[in-house]
Amino acid sequence: MNIFQKLAVKPWSDDAHVDMTVEGGFHATPAKVGLRFFLFVVSVLFFLLTAAYFMRKGMIDWVKLPLPPLLMVNTMVLVAASFALQWAKNSGRDGNLKNLRLGLVLGGVLTIGFLVGQMMVWEDLSALGYFAATNPSNAFFYLFTGLHGLHMVGGLVAWGRATSSAWRSDADVEQLTQRTDLCAAYWHYLLLIWLYVFGLLIIT
Amino acid sequence: MIFAIVIFLLTIGTVAFHFWSPWYLTELASNWSGMDDALTITFVITGVVFVLINLFLAYAVFKYRHKEGSRADYEPENKKLELWLTGLTSIGVVALLAPGLVVWADFVDVPEDAMVVEAVGQQWTWTFRYPGDDGILGAADPTFMTIDNPFGLNPDDPYGQDDIVVEDNEGHLPTGGPVKMLLRSKDVLHDFYVPQIRAKMDLVPGIETYFWFEPTRVGEFEILCAELCGTGHYTMRGLLVVQEKADFDLWLSEQPTFGELSAEAVAELSTELSTE
């Protein structure tokens, strides 16, 4: 039954339409479903920022900010981090704890590298006099990158918990894989968001 | 039982209060009788609905109150009834919306020949500017604002020189023609609100907003600020004096122009310098 059919059921009638053997709804773990909703919320956040961006951009005082080439490098690093986590997850699926650990660490280190790179971009820009207060386009740049960075930091907290549990002597590979799976999904999505933000800043 | 009676009394009482209330619209002083009519239409339609539903509610509470041995009906839904109610409600909503939108179409369509007057708000006073003989308001910008140039008029704009500026919280308008109020704020949001005019509009720093009306009644009306603008919000009171055209012209001719005021300021400065 699709959702519309489900909502059209007359619930006071008998059990015929009800599968009495299952609980819940989606075919996914609650954590996965929760994460999907969270990513949805994150998307709304960036969508609203984009709307604000275009409204503000319409004003006369907008001066485009030159984008430092370092951003390109950072993007690569983030792509690599995403791959590393995916690899970690796949290794976990195959029961390879060693590679899972390696992938996790690699993913985290690359992400930290990305964040450090973003900070360097900020420093370079402010050294050149592009302060947030100087022009709204600068302000939006700092806002977009800052919020994205904060989300990455949040991801690193979850990553930290997963990684530290990977070294416990009683590490349960299946559970660890699930956690890594969540991390990987989050990373992929935030990579997408970063590509979106980066693209937006380049095009406009 | 008591509850049913209370609902009944509250319903009747509300209607009675409506008619008995000494507080209602102030006497209209503009062309916006359409807004008053739209309000009346809304009161009539929603009033009927209010009374009908609540009387039904009171009756239901009375009739179906629990009695020994009584048992409720079992009726999950009634498609026909629900469709009817939805349809009737939709008709009611259209009947409310249509007259409102007609008035609004009038509101957004400023007459070509409207006289242009500017009201400028700041915490917590009003000032006014009239276009002068050329009929055009000079360019203005907050960056030009100084004590001697409180309107921020561009001193190099020739259209600005003959603008007439009035700084004492009192604006005048003539009857007999539409007025387009241009609104500017120096600092925060304000709102140009004269209850008797009905129409109102926010003043927004950074942009120029506007609305139009036609003063229809000679008199003095209070301008209130209707958008919270800080501690002194409630004191931000101005006066709108509506006069016959001739009286208005006379008044206007007595007001200084921007050019004169700047010249005066320059003269003052030089006397100050020479006495030193």
Binding site: L7, P11, D14, M20, E23, G24, G34, A52, R56, M59, A132, A133, P136, A139 | F17, S21, W23, T26, F50, I53, F56, L57, A60, V61, Y64, R65, S70, R71, A72, D73, Y74, E75, N78, E82, G100, V102, W104, A105, V108, M145, K186, D187, V188, L189, D191, P195, K200, M201, D202, L203, V204, F211, E222, E227, C229, T231, H233, Y234, T235, R237
Partner: protein, 583 residues
């Protein structure tokens, strides 16, 4: 893996032994619900007290020295924000949502109990930050609960240094808390329903809370974004919302920003926020009406669809708060139309409530009194919404006391009546004790009649043209003396209504001391929370096996059945005489 997550044994839940583990750092949704409720009601009392101060000033201008213009605006702002966000949103979702969702859908707990606990503590932090602004230099912000820039962060507004920053910080923290809770509620409803609990068998309470939570998850980001941007404008001098300004004769550094942009973001959050409060109230009141009228809710499917349609439409009406904001006036056509369209599903809900009573067997218990009281006040408040949504009618009324009366009727009084209906309804479940019926009735009559005495006349003061957010009317010529007299009487009514709320607290304390054990299902209700093996339910809710659901939540007075209610977990055919419908 697919569905086995809510495994049927209790070992999965963490069972703390110590008092602190049980009642402070608890992960039990019922304890968290109570924590949310107590905190929300406590700040609500602060907001109530502030409303007294405001009313004292309006009724008797200048008589109370401690209320000067600055503090009046600070009280107004804090009152409004606390009531809307920290009381009602937190109470309906954090309080009722937490308590009811797992019990009503037959789950042992929320799916992320740890996150749930965290959500409460972060919420508490946001409340503490907000309260701290009363003690900060300059006091809390006085910018109005809408926090419009530029005013909110400029000289001339109280609390423009510390107050506003604490407010914004507190809101951001609140949003974090809400997101943690909200993800939990949504996922729990989707994933943790027990066997047989299809979406359309869920009680309307769960539907209302579920859709409201989704609205919250979509709407709060707008407040977050605008809060962050305003903080940046204030702290590091960006110009998101700040144009060139001459403030108090001084040129500021800002340029080019747009105050109207803030208003769009704020109301993109602000309007759905109204429904974040209203939808749970709609749902809960539906269940209470049905239970105490011993009759199925009329038009259940229509009720669910209406909740969904209202939820969806609530994202395309926001600019009806901005008809005179200086935005392009042509938007007025669009937003007036969408706003009036929402009236249709909303009206359908009202009809169905009334039709639920029709041919019912109405027990005028205390919760039922509040629920029917809600119908009356909501009709009133909904109707005035039609005035304000219709752009040409709104223009004269906007920013007058008509608006104040309208939103208090529709999202102040009405939801609060539902809150009390719900608290009385579930009190025996939450505590296991009976409450005192007589005190409950006294509380109802005082609240219901008193609030009407406050707000009915207020509409007419608004039509007269009295603007809102006025510390003093300074003898404006268009205001007759009788209006000041009316304001005094409103103030007295407000004080009385406030006093009547103490009856409620007295009732709670009295009942907790008296400890008169309640029947586990005193209202003979069908929904699952009344069918728990223990009363009040213990951690884990259901004993060794989860309930299995065989029917919808509204099998009241089924023809032929022996009892006038068939619980949701009662198998079909268990009452051989009941004429159950078949497809």
């Amino acid at each position: 893996m697919a569905h086995a997550t809510m495994a049927d044994d209790l070992t999965e839940l963490y069972h703390p032994k110590t008092f602190i583990g049980k009642y402070i750092w608890s992960q039990d949704h019922k304890v968290i619900a109570i924590q949310y409720t107590i905190t929300a009601v406590s700040v609500g009392l602060v907001a109530l007290t502030l409303s007294w101060f405001m009313r004292l000033q309006i009724g008797f201008p200048g008589m109370f020295e401690f209320i000067d213009a600055d503090s009046y605006y600070q009280f107004t702002t804090m009152h409004g924000m606390i009531m809307v966000i920290y009381l009602l949103t937190a109470l309906f979702l954090g309080g009722f949502g937490n308590y009811l969702i797992p019990l009503m859908i037959g789950a042992r707990d929320m799916v992320f109990p740890y996150l749930n606990m965290l959500s409460y503590w972060v919420y508490l932090l946001s409340v503490i930050i907000l309260m701290a602004s009363f003690f900060a230099p300059g006091g809390p912000t006085g910018a109005g609960w809408t926090l419009y820039p530029p005013q909110a962060i400029l000289a001339g507004t109280p609390g423009q240094e510390w107050g506003i920053m604490l407010m914004l910080t507190s809101l951001i923290v609140f949003i974090v808390a809400f997101t943690m809770g909200g993800l939990n509620y949504v996922t729990t409803v989707l994933q943790a329903r027990t066997k047989g609990m299809t979406l359309m068998r869920m009680p309307l309470s769960v539907w209302g809370i579920f859709v409201a939570t989704i609205l919250g998850l979509l709407a709060f980001p707008a407040l977050l974004v605008s809060g962050i941007m305003m903080s940046l404008d204030k702290l590091i001098g960006t110009s998101f919302f700040m144009p060139a300004i001459v403030s108090m004769g001084e040129q500021l550094e800002y340029s080019g920003g747009s105050p109207v942009l803030f208003q769009h973001l704020f109301w993109f959050f602000g309007h759905p926020e109204v429904y974040i409060v209203a939808l749970p109230a709609f749902g809960i009141v539906s269940d209470i009406l049905s239970t105490h009228a011993r009759k199925n809710i009329f038009g259940y499917r229509m009720m669910v669809w209406a909740i969904l349609v209202i939820g969806g439409l609530s994202f395309v009406v926001w600019a009806h708060h901005m008809y005179v904001s200086g935005m392009n006036p042509f938007f007025g056509f669009f937003f007036a139309t969408t706003t009036l369209i929402i009236a249709v599903p909303t009206a359908i809900k009202v009809y169905n409530w009334v039709l639920t009573l029709w041919k019912g067997d109405i027990h005028l218990t205390v919760p039922m009194l509040f629920a029917i009281g809600f119908i009356f006040t909501f009709i009133n408040g909904g109707i005035t919404g039609l005035f304000l949504g219709n752009v040409a009618v709104d223009v004269p009324l906007s920013d007058t006391y008509f608006v104040v009366a309208h939103f208090h009727m529709v999202m102040g009084v009405s939801p609060v009546l539902v809150v009390f209906a719900a608290l009385y309804h579930w009190f025996p479940k939450i505590t296991g004790y009976e409450f005192n019926e007589r005190l409950g009735k006294i509380h109802f009559w005082g609240t219901f009649l008193g609030t009407y005495a406050i707000y009915l006349p207020m509409h007419y003061l608004g039509i007269l043209g009295m603007p809102r957010r006025y510390y003093d009317y300074l003898d404006a010529a268009f205001i007759p003396d009788s209006a000041y007299l009316m304001n005094q009487s409103i103030t007295i009514a407000a004080l009385i209504v406030g006093a009547f709320q103490m009856v409620f607290f007295a009732n709670v304390i009295y009942s907790l001391i008296k400890k008169k054990k309640s029947d586990p299902n005193p209202w003979n209700a069908t929904t699952l929370e009344w069918q728990t093996p223990d009363n009040p339910p213990v951690h884990g809710n259901w004993g060794p096996t989860l309930p299995v659901v065989h029917r919808w939540a509204y099998d009241y007075s089924v023809p032929g059945a022996e009892k006038d209610f068939l619980p949701q977990n009662m198998p079909r055919g268990a009452d051989p005489n009941a004429q159950e419908e078949h497809t």
